[in-house]
Each structure stands twice: as structure tokens, then as C-alpha cells.
Symmetry: none
Subunit: 200 residues, 2 copies
Amino acid sequence: MPIFNEKYGILTNMEDDTTAWLPARIRHERENRGWSLSQFAEKSGVSKAMISKIERGEASPTATVLGRLSGALSLTVSALLSRTASVHHGVRRYATQPLWSDPETGYDRRQVLSGQKIPLELVEVNLPAGQQVSMPAAAFTFIQQAIWVLEGTLLFHEGDRVHQLDQGDCLELGPPQDCIFHNQGGENCRYLVAVVRSTP
Amino acid sequence: MPIFNEKYGILTNMEDDTTAWLPARIRHERENRGWSLSQFAEKSGVSKAMISKIERGEASPTATVLGRLSGALSLTVSALLSRTASVHHGVRRYATQPLWSDPETGYDRRQVLSGQKIPLELVEVNLPAGQQVSMPAAAFTFIQQAIWVLEGTLLFHEGDRVHQLDQGDCLELGPPQDCIFHNQGGENCRYLVAVVRSTP
DNA sequence: GACATTAATCCATTATAGTAGACGGTCAAT
DNA sequence: ATTGACCGTCTACTATAATGGATTAATGTC
């Protein structure tokens, strides 16, 4: 639905309208576990009145509240907010996997799996020739992951260290550091990022 | 990090602490696109002052604001909040990855990664046309896994349930059950088994 | 130097998220 | 019938999210 932004005089029509699906999603997750509002409140540390408001669409929860609710549900925020979550039997069809694309560069990222039952995420990344992306360490605390090159060659820079990963190579990452993914070759590079979420 | 809930006198320690990663994530997504706060504000319909606060961790955005930000970034909220990332050494070269083959059938398994720092295993399986392998539930107790089809079509029998997985599809498995991997088509099937080892 | 532009943060205000306790309804036991 | 437990929603209040405009700092041009 288009939103007219009066200050800038343009239509911004790209909102992911959480009010359209989040209330039902939260309620569904709670009822699926057979919890009352009181039980959910006790487990999450969010007041039952607030949970009731969220489920009735009368308030929009902050990220902090979402973190508490998802924790009580043993989910990441991402998994809780994933709308493929209610897909039965755990199958994530290719066509329904969330895809982010940058048309200018051809870079795209596909969320193959955001685990509901297991603490695992699989993200397939397409990095065109000559492109690179960087990641600050702070974005990825408490994360354990590996990179598997499906196609092409990837130069992986961490600090002043560089790994060249060819097709089929796999890299198990250690502690978070600032890093850069770089495809400096003349051909496309495709790789999988497998993330194990740890519990502190 | 444990949170003492005074009203209920218990420790609730299951929060997904968004303050630990969300600010940097939002900033990264913005900077990765080369947008200023003003440009991001214009595209999202969220004030630049608020975006600044979010990135500095001075405010926790509501789901509605997250919807707007993710929309401008061409992401779902779930994708925006998923954590993918970076780091360190531990390269497993293709040529050194352990490979098990059955010459008669052409079935082979490659251990892409057996995690030392992280409880993750990645196994690439090649299942020729007409072949199948079975696995009793007992083989993977305390194991959590997902299957991602890289090529071809896989019929996966889980108990009395059958999933047809086409190229790119991904299946998150539930509780351990007897299962069968079957390539009943006329072409090769290749798939990745990602296993998260849990501690009981 | 002056001036214009752009970026990010500050500030005062409004809107609403979030809470604790109260309320009314339902159900089971006595 | 009454009572107690539990349910979800209401209410009044506090805390903070979110805004628009102002301010500050940096940069580039003349």
C-alpha cells in the first residue's frame, strides 16, 4: 500500500506492513504451545496486557519486546518474524525463500533456511564479478558460521588476512572480525553462509 | 544473559538481545547502499533523527518502523533481522575434504565441513538416478539437521510422510524418525545435509 | 576569508508503547 | 447457591519511541 510522505513529496510504497500479519503470528505461536497470556508473560518478561495489545493489533512491539517474546518461544527474532514459518512440515520452497537483490550490482542474497526447530540459518549469496560486500564484526556477536563456495572464487578478507576460496572450498569462521567478501575474478561467485546460532 | 523477573521471582534467560546487534545491522545495510540518513529517511518514511537513534542504540524501533526500514531496503523484516556474518580461518579445501564413494552405484558423500569451533557439519551427497539410502532414527539422536537440494529432485521419506524436494528447496527436519533419501528420477541428484550437533 | 551544501546529532514536543492493578466473565469444586 | 482460580481486556499512569526543526561540524567552491 502506497504511503504518501508529505515531507519529501513522494510515494514510498515499499513497507513490509507488520500490522497485517504480526498480531496473528504472535497469537498463533503462543496458542500452538498451549500457553495462556499469563504463562507467556511469565516466560518472556513482557506484561500480559502488552501481549494482549500486540495480538489485537493495538500496539506495535519494539525490537526489545520482540527479542523477549522470541526468546520465550525459543526462536530468533528473524525466525519469529519470518512469514514462511507457518509452512507445514518444515519445507522451504525455493520460490518462497526471501530474496534480497541489488539490481545495480547484481548482488543478491537468498534466505534458504531460517531454522524454526534447529538453530541454523542457510543463506545463499550471489556475488557478481568485481563486486564486494563488507561486514562489521559488531553485527554478528554470538554467531558461529561457515562459508561454502558453490561456484567461482571468493576472496575473503578478515582484518589484514586474506583467504582465497575456490569452488567447493569451505571456511569455518572463528570469532567475529570486520571482514570483506570480494569477487575479484571475471566470473560470478556463489556461496552459502551456514550460521549456527548459539545460546549464551 | 539472565534477566531476573522480579514479579515472578524467576530467571528468564532466553531473550534474543536485539540491542546487541540490531543497531550495527541497520547501519550496515544503509551504508552498504551508500545512503545517507536523509536518503534512508526519504525512502522509508521514518525520520532521520529516529534512524540515527536506532543506529546508535538510543531507541528500540517498533515493528511498524522495522517494516518501513526493511521495505526501503527491499527486505522482509525477517531477512533484515536475520544474522549472517563473518570471520576467520579454518579453510577446508575441496581436494582435502573426506570423500566416501560407492563405485557400483555412484553414490558418494563429501564431508565439506566437520566443525571444530562450531557444532556444524556440512555433507554434500551425490545420489544417482534410481538410488536411495536409508537412515534409522537412532543414527541421529541429538542431531538437528536440514537438507538443501542443490541439483535434481529428492524424495525424502520421513516416517510415513513424503516430501518432494526440487532444486533449491530446503527442508528442516523435525524429531528423529526413520527416513529414506530417494532419487527416483532419471537424473542425478545432489544435496547438502547440514547438521547442527546439539549437546543433551 | 565568506558562503553554500551536506551530514549527523541535539532538542523540545507529541504520540504511543508498556506497565501494574482492576475488572468482568467462565469454569470447576464445594 | 458460593468460592476460588484462571482467562483476556480495561484503565490510569509512566517511560520512551518518533517527530520536525535547530544546531554543529565538515567539506567544497569562489
